[in-house]
Every structure is written in structure tokens, then in C-alpha cells.
């Protein structure tokens, strides 16, 4: 399952991020790393997922969320 498929309110763990180096580094600095627990705040927006991770709230474009594998 990817982050884009997760449901509102669901708590998931990041397994891997199949992104370019730039993308991975950006997300890492914002606290998204494999193994981290993420709460999906809202996934109803058409092109973005709102998540909460390490105490901060982030919005990720679908283009990113689709390539973040979670469980």
C-alpha cells in the first residue's frame, strides 16, 4: 500500500520511499524516514495528502505520496 491509498485517520508506518535523491533528502529533513509512524489527517483532497509525523503537519503532493510505501 502507498501513502496515497491510506485512509483518513489511519496510522501507518513508512516502509520505503521510491523517490529521487532530492525527494528523499527533502522528506528526511522534514522527518519522513523509513520506520516512522505517520497519521493520515486528510486524504480527501484531490492532489495532496495531509499527514502528521513527528509532531508536525505536512502536505504531500500525490506525486510523492504514491511512491511512499507504507504498512
Amino acid at each position: 500500500m502507498t501513502l496515497a491509498d491510506a485512509l483518513k485517520g489511519q496510522k501507518v508506518t513508512i516502509v520505503s520511499m521510491d523517490l529521487t535523491e532530492l525527494g528523499v533528502n527533502r522528506l528526511t529533513a522534514l522527518g519522513l524516514t523509513p520506520g516512522v509512524r505517520v497519521r493520515v489527517v486528510d486524504n480527501s483532497l484531490k492532489d495532496a495528502s495531509i499527514i502528521e509525523c513527528r509532531g508536525s503537519r505536512l502536505a504531500l503532493g500525490r506525486g510523492l505520496a504514491r511512491f511512499i510505501v507504507v504498512k
Partner: protein
């Protein structure tokens, strides 16, 4: 022991760093740019126990990995300018994420003081951070503050002074825990630079963070969740979000007008009084004309809009500081992406509503070159603060009060829609293969802090005043000269003088006629005595125009009116003869289809330098010959001379055409070639001409 202790404030965006900075330095701040880049550098000074402390507010960053200009600037500053102490401001409520930067900063080796900010918010959310334990684990002092209430800010200075004094001997005490960058350094073939090593370092850092948080943070699971969830459910709603955003912007623009009108009147009256005083104190001549028409008319005409600018910037600062702007960027991403832009393009665009120049600079935050170029290209279409005076002059001049907000909103909306169209065209022309990743932090909503918002607003207002005092001052004088020289020849002047003399001679007769006219108008049928017209036809016409303009003032002196009309005619003749008039005339054939005459043309030439010069220039163009009038003379003159359709067309043209010189220069620099600057300038001007012509020609038929 050094005389001045140099400290740098570092922290994530939205960690309350600016608030702490303001608390530390008060109003004693300077704003500059970091060398080579356009990231703003805030610097301030303060004193503590007899020591001078200089504080540099580094840009908000998540890491020092140099992916953005902000990160590069922060990293280079720490490396090259070696502050005595680095103060790391940390949002206590999202400690886990913020500690990443803390560890990175610690690895830099400068003396570090960690400030746990917003502990009140954290406690309310059931997050309790054990500062003493954290300090012990990190091996650096950890303080607690509530920046927006100033709690604990004094202690920062005390700690900084203590650390600076104790660390003057570079006694770097390695902490008990493993240094995460060791993991990177262990990558032997690259010494910690390659991708693998970075990843290894990151994994080590987050492991360390996990350990720190487990020991120092207690989270109360039963604490009420942050209110942000509920607010976000509405403000970022998939259907409601955009209408709310548009409504918020509408409200902002409406407030700008209604609240701004009072101080504007005061400033206007002040300049009127000043100009009256100069008029009385100086003798007739070129110098007097320069001061009244050139300087007071030009600079005053621009400064009058300062209240509007301040209110607009204040509103934008509040939206930024409250956390809403990030939501706006998120909402817009969907639409931005459709035209090949990025959600973050909204930020340069919103900055562009203030001024296009920093907007173009802000486009740097976009990492994809095509997105960045497209964003910069369309930025002048987001109506900047300098164009605002044009609207503020023309809208009240031509439209009733209840329409004013709507028209202003409409102008801004036209700009945005046009930007969308242009961006889409560019997207199709320069196919964008892989869009950059969209990720943005949504800071928790909070009440904007007056200090930060106020300082930013005043700073922008001051920039505007400085611009008015320098560039606009110079241009006003230049344009005054262009409109004044060459002056009328003696023969023409003599003709107008003769005209005036004739009116004064026949004063009684004119008064009697005017009285008769008035009586006739009052009782049109009964007292219809034929009035004899003895005065020259021209003068009668002038008198008629003058009468029409002052129809409410029944006791107005018809002789004075007639004289004023002659003065105005003389002024116009002089303007036609001047250089500005000649250039305006020369380009008139191009302007005609849009409904503009050569006077508007001369003002538009001024607007090429800076948009707000249009207003100053219209003031100069029309103040010739009527410098003694004070209350709203320009708006009234415009109303008398042009139709609302022309007024709208001027705004439309100014919105789209001829980006100002500063924009042109910065576009060339940021885009990396003059080609882009020229393409933008001529492209937008061509679009403006076609659109304005269409609107005028269609409007004329309706």
C-alpha cells in the same frame, strides 16, 4: 573577552524564531541581503549586563544540506562568520522533527544554546519536555520560552553571555552519545559526502532523536488534540477551500479601501496645506513650480497611498503568521499543477501582490527550472503594491463606493486568470517532463504575534517610503522637467494674459450674466430673457465648463472660474509643447485604439520606470495651472475628462503591460539572461495592448 558577542538564531520555519528575534532586539534592526543571494538578512543589536550582543536571524531551514538558498546561506554563515554562540530555536510541540536541525547544528561545532519555544502550546497538547534531561543528553544548555509573551527571553541573553565567556577557549566537550555524523565519516571513499553516507548519517540522527525523545519527552495521550484538525477540515476542504481563499482575499482588499480612506484624507490634507504654504511663501517662477508641481505633487501623490499599502501588507503578514498561507499554497497546488506550476508558486505570487521584485526572487524556492521560469514570467500579472495607487486613484474617481471593492477584486482576478492562461501556454510550449515534488509544512494555527506582524509591515511600509523619497522623487523631478520645458513662447503667454485681463475688465458683466443664468435655470420658463453674449466665445465655453464643475457651489465666483479655465487652457497648451507632450503625441496613434490620449501616454511612459509614477505623472500633467486646489483635484479632473470605460482600460493596461525597470533588471538576473527579461517585457505589453483594445472597442459599442 570580546566586546561584542555575535549570536546567530537558527531554527525551522514556524518555530517562532522571528518572534524571539524581535523580543531580543526590539526595534533596533536592519534588513539586508546575504551576499550573492536574495535571502533577507535580519540583524539587530541589544545590550545585556554591559555587553553588546549582535543578533543575526538566519533564514528558517529544516537542514543545512544546501538544497535551497536558505539552507546554503545558513550553512555558509555558520562556517564563514563563526558566530560566538548559535541559538537554536526549537518548537517544543514538534520536538522530534526540530531536533534534526539541532543535531546538524551540533555537528557544526559552534557553541550551541537550545531554546525550547512555545512550551505553553506543547503543554496544552499534553507534551511535556524535560529540559534538564535534554540538556544533559545533548550536552548543551536548554532553555524554555514562550516567545510571543516574552517569557524566558532574558534568560537567553544571560545564557548566551555565559556560554560565550566560558567557550572563548575552544573546549569542545563531546557528548556522551555517538555523534551521528560519525556514521557519515565512516564512509571512507567519500569522507561523508556521497548519497549513501548522507543516508547513513540521517538514519543515525533519527536514531539519536528517538533516544532523546524517549528519555526527555512525556506525551499525555489523553490531552485534547490540536484545534488545527477541525480548522483544517474546513479551510482545506476539497470544495470549500478555494471559495474561502477567494473570500479571504476579497475581504483583505475591501478592508484596504474602507479602513485606508481616513488616514489618506489626512495625508492628502497635509500635503494640500504644505503646498498652500509654499504657494504663499514663494514668488512665482520655475522653482515654485518645481516644488509644488514636481516634488509635492509627485511624492505626495504617491505617499498618500501609504495607509493602503500598510493595511494590505498587514493583512498579508497576518495571513502568513497565522499559518493560513501554507494552506493556501496547498489548495492552489492542484490548480497550479494543471498549468505546469507548483503549489509553492503561490508564495512568490502572493509576495508579488506586494512587490514583483521580491516575488521573482522568492521564485528561487522552486527547484525545477521550468517551473521557476514560468513562475517568474507570469509574476508581473499578480498586481503589485505599486500598481495599487493607480487603482486607488482611478476606482474612486470613476466608480460609486459600493462598486469599488468589487472592481479592485476584479482587476486582481483578471491578473490571476491571465497568469493562468500564460502559464498554460508556456507549459504547452516548454513541455514539463517531471514535476518537482510537492511537500510543504502546515504549521499549527496560532494567533499572529503583533510584534512580528507589526515589524514586517512597518519594514515594508518604510521600503515604500524610501522608494518614494528616492526613485520616485528623482523621476518626479525629471518628469516635471519633461512636462515644463520647453516652456511656452512669449507670444502665446501674452495671448493668455490678454484673455485674463479681458475677463477681469468685464468682471461685473460676467457676474451679472452668471446671476441671470442662475435665475433662469431656477425658473426656466418665466424669466426667459435672452442673454447677450458679448464676451469671446472661447471664454464663454471655459466659463461653462468651470460652472459645470462647480455646480453645487452656487456662490462660486464666475470670474474666478473663468480665470481658472484660462489657466487650465494655458497649462494644457504648455504641456502640449513640452517634451513629454511631444512623446505622448508621437505614440498617440498606438494608444488611440485603447481609448487613451497623449496625456495618459505621457503618464504611461513614467510608469515604465515604476508603476506608481503613473499617478504622480497624472498629477503633474493635470496640476499645471491649478496648483492651488487641494481636495481630490486629480480624481475630479479625471472624472471630468474621461469615461469610466477609459478609467477601467487604464487599470487593465497598467496591470498587464510594461513591467517596471526593477522587475526587468531582476528578471534578467534571476532568469540568467536578458532574453527572458525582453521576452517578458514585450510579451506582456503586447498582450496588454490587444486585451485593452478589445475591451475598449467592445465597451464603446455597449
Amino acid at each position: 573577552m570580546k566586546n561584542v558577542i555575535k549570536i546567530a538564531l537558527a531554527g525551522n520555519p514556524n518555530s517562532g524564531k522571528s518572534t524571539i528575534f524581535n523580543r531580543l532586539t526590539g526595534a533596533k534592526q536592519t534588513v539586508g541581503n546575504f551576499p550573492g543571494v536574495t535571502v533577507e538578512r535580519y540583524e539587530g543589536r541589544t545590550r545585556f549586563e554591559g555587553r553588546d550582543v549582535s543578533v543575526v536571524d538566519l533564514p528558517g531551514v529544516y537542514s543545512l544540506a544546501s538544497y535551497s538558498d536558505e539552507e546554503r546561506v545558513a550553512a555558509e554563515f555558520l562556517k564563514n562568520e563563526t558566530p560566538d554562540v548559535v541559538v537554536n530555536v526549537v518548537d517544543a510541540a514538534s520536538l522530534e522533527r526540530n531536533l534534526y536541525l539541532t543535531l546538524v547544528l551540533k555537528e557544526q561545532g559552534r557553541p550551541l544554546v537550545v531554546v525550547l519555544n512555545m512550551i505553553d502550546v506543547a503543554r496544552r497538547r499534553g507534551i511535556d519536555v524535560d529540559a534538564a534531561a535534554l540538556s544533559k543528553e545533548l550536552g548543551v544548555p536548554v532553555l524554555q520560552t514562550v516567545g510571543n509573551r516574552g517569557v524566558g527571553v532574558e534568560e537567553i541573553l544571560a545564557e548566551v553571555v555565559r556560554v560565550a565567556e566560558s567557550s572563548s577557549a575552544p573546549a569542545e566537550t563531546p557528548s556522551a552519545s555517538a555523534c551521528p555524523s560519525d556514521a557519515a565519516k565512516s564512509c571512507e571513499h567519500c569522507g561523508g559526502e556521497c548519497e549513501l553516507a548522507q543516508t547513513a548519517a540521517d538514519v543515525a540522527r533519527y536514531k539519536e532523536i528517538g533516544r532523546l525523545c524517549a528519555r526527555c519527552v512525556k506525551t499525555d495521550a489523553d490531552a485534547p488534540a490540536s484545534g488545527s484538525d477541525k480548522i483544517d477540515a474546513i479551510l482545506t476542504h476539497r470544495f470549500l477551500g478555494i471559495p474561502i481563499f477567494l473570500a479571504a482575499m476579497y475581504l483583505v482588499f475591501q478592508l484596504t479601501f474602507t479602513l485606508g480612506s481616513y488616514p489618506m484624507d489626512w495625508i492628502d490634507a497635509g500635503f494640500g496645506a504644505l503646498s498652500d504654504w509654499v504657494d504663499g511663501a514663494m514668488s512665482e517662477g520655475v522653482a515654485k513650480s518645481l516644488i509644488i508641481d514636481g516634488i509635492i505633487g509627485g511624492v505626495g501623490g504617491v505617499l498618500v497611498f501609504l495607509p493602503n499599502i500598510l493595511i494590505l501588507f498587514l493583512a498579508i503578514s497576518i495571513l502568513e503568521d497565522s499559518g493560513y498561507m501554507a494552506r493556501a499554497a496547498l489548495l492552489c497546488d492542484r490548480w497550479m499543477r494543471r498549468v505546469g506550476l507548483h503549489g509553492k508558486s503561490v508564495v512568490p505570487a502572493l509576495v508579488g501582490f506586494g512587490c514583483t521584485v521580491p516575488g521573482i526572487m522568492a521564485a528561487k524556492m522552486l527547484s525545477d527550472r521550468k517551473e521557476r521560469l514560468a513562475t517568474m514570467f507570469i509574476l508581473p500579472l499578480f498586481s503589485c503594491g505599486a500598481r495599487f495607487p493607480i487603482y486607488a486613484l482611478l476606482i474612486p474617481a470613476f466608480f460609486p463606493l459600493e462598486w469599488q471593492g468589487l472592481i479592485l477584486w476584479g482587476i486582481y482576478l483578471i491578473g490571476i486568470l491571465l497568469a493562468v492562461v500564460v502559464a498554460k501556454v508556456m507549459d504547452v510550449v516548454f513541455k514539463n517532463d517531471e514535476p518537482a515534488p510537492f511537500v510543504i509544512e502546515l504549521p499549527s494555527y496560532h494567533r499572529p504575534t503583533l510584534g512580528v506582524v507589526g515589524v514586517h509591515t512597518l519594514e515594508r511600509g518604510w521600503q515604500y517610503v524610501k522608494k518614494a523619497g528616492t526613485i520616485i522623487f528623482a523621476i518626479s523631478v525629471l518628469l516635471w522637467a519633461l512636462t515644463t520645458f520647453p516652456s511656452l513662447d512669449a507670444e502665446t503667454v501674452a495671448k493668455f494674459d490678454a484673455e485674463r485681463a479681458r475677463i477681469e475688465e468685464n468682471a461685473d458683466q460676467i457676474r451679472a450674466e452668471a446671476a441671470a443664468q442662475l435665475a433662469e435655470n431656477a425658473q426656466p420658463k418665466e424669466n426667459a430673457e435672452p442673454t447677450e453674449i458679448t464676451q469671446p466665445e472661447e471664454t464663454a465655453q471655459f466659463a461653462e465648463i468651470a460652472d459645470a464643475e462647480t455646480e453645487e457651489a452656487e456662490e462660486a465666483d464666475p470670474v474666478a472660474d473663468a480665470l481658472a479655465a484660462v489657466d487650465a487652457a494655458e497649462g494644457q497648451a504648455a504641456l502640449e509643447r513640452s517634451y513629454a507632450g511631444r512623446v505622448g503625441r508621437a505614440i498617440e496613434p498606438i494608444l488611440r485604439p485603447m481609448g487613451f490620449d497623449w496625456k495618459i501616454g505621457t503618464a504611461l511612459i513614467g510608469a515604465i520606470a515604476a508603476k506608481e509614477v503613473f499617478v504622480a505623472q497624472m498629477g503633474v500633467v493635470y496640476s499645471v495651472g491649478e496648483a492651488d486646489e487641494t481636495s481630490e483635484p486629480l480624481a475630479e479632473t479625471l472624472r471630468a475628462n474621461y469615461s469610466p470605460l477609459v478609467g477601467f482600460c487604464i487599470m487593465l493596461f497598467c496591470l498587464i503591460a510594461t513591467p517596471c525597470m526593477a522587475t526587468f533588471a531582476v528578471m534578467a538576473k534571476e532568469a540568467g539572461s536578458w532574453k527572458w527579461a525582453f521576452a517578458q517585457w514585450f510579451g506582456l505589453t503586447a498582450i496588454a495592448w490587444v486585451l485593452t483594445t478589445l475591451v475598449y472597442q467592445i465597451g464603446k459599442m455597449c
